[in-house]
Symmetry: D3
Subunit: 74 residues, 6 copies
């Protein structure tokens, strides 16, 4: 079974830059070209997906998780 399309509006293709491996969860930094997206996933998932630096991945998140802020120039 292969996922064809997912409703998460926000999907960014990138490359794993580094993984900080923990006992239960791990922090994965994904280089998406314009910057880094950091993801915290279960260490079990890191192993199941076979993630390591250089792996191609998609970082995805739901629109409801995204907050917006206005800002002032430094």
């Amino acid at each position: 079974m292969t996922i064809k399309a997912i409703n998460a509006r926000n999907q960014f293709q990138g490359t794993v830059k580094q993984i900080k491996r923990g006992d239960v969860v791990s922090e994965v930094e994904v280089d998406i070209g314009q910057g880094l997206i950091t993801s915290i996933v279960s260490t079990t998932s890191v192993d199941e997906l076979g993630l390591k630096p250089g792996s191609d991945v998609i970082a995805l998140f739901k629109s409801t998780e995204v907050a917006l802020a206005s800002f002032a120039p430094a």
Copy 2:
């Protein structure tokens, strides 16, 4: 009171491209240069932040919200 720094690792500066305004929540598309980030926030927040197309904003989300997927070339 001004927020100096926030722990959300994932922060992308961009410009509001369009807003689909709803009764309780609204969908805001933010152009971050490399692509679009879509955010669903309360319509009250849209008004309080004074968001409209062209507004400068930061889209931010916690690392725990980001899922990772591996993929096959089309």
Copy 3:
């Protein structure tokens, strides 16, 4: 590009039972055999995925989103 695998540990295959369509977000009930999973996604996503009653879908969510409760018999 096709997603091969995703780190969301919780994936349930089911059939769309009904859709309550809203202006910005819609509520989708998915029958997974043992019960119903309700999902609120953007109405844009409902259209892009072509969801309607009877559609086959996977409902998925991250482990970090799941709370646990103990309970007393009624």
Copy 4:
């Protein structure tokens, strides 16, 4: 069946102050004494719980959803 305890660390007892009712989701303001907590839940849930201004409720959320920010005095 009655829930005895739930792992959501953050639980605040309060009173519904007002409800902004939408087609699919509604915005519920809960007065917790020290301030307001705003919750967006499905309108179906508002009806099932019988929420109206004055209702006693518990607002709860998982620790993984809470971001932290440092700030500068105004």
Copy 5:
């Protein structure tokens, strides 16, 4: 004080299958009959709820956290 009803639409009763205990968070697998739901909660919560393999629990999550995907047969 006992919770009578909670707005989380998605509630599945099950039995703890195993717990992978970490320093701050733990991964709890819940057998809901039709499959497994994995939850990552604070280790403090695991202890407060007294969770161990065989414990009866309810796994619950908000509708806004559930993503939907279409798929192709393998």
Copy 6:
């Protein structure tokens, strides 16, 4: 660049009471006067924000993350 305003409706100012430091994520208890808010953030964020007991922080979370429950007196 300084964040002026953020759409997270729920913002509570408080003081860090204690930090349970983990390898990848840490649990931070924030005393907001009326009670405690617990946050799980990456340990990297704890260090970048320079959090320690006594630090002034704002705990913030999106309305979509807040569940509501009705309850019965004990």
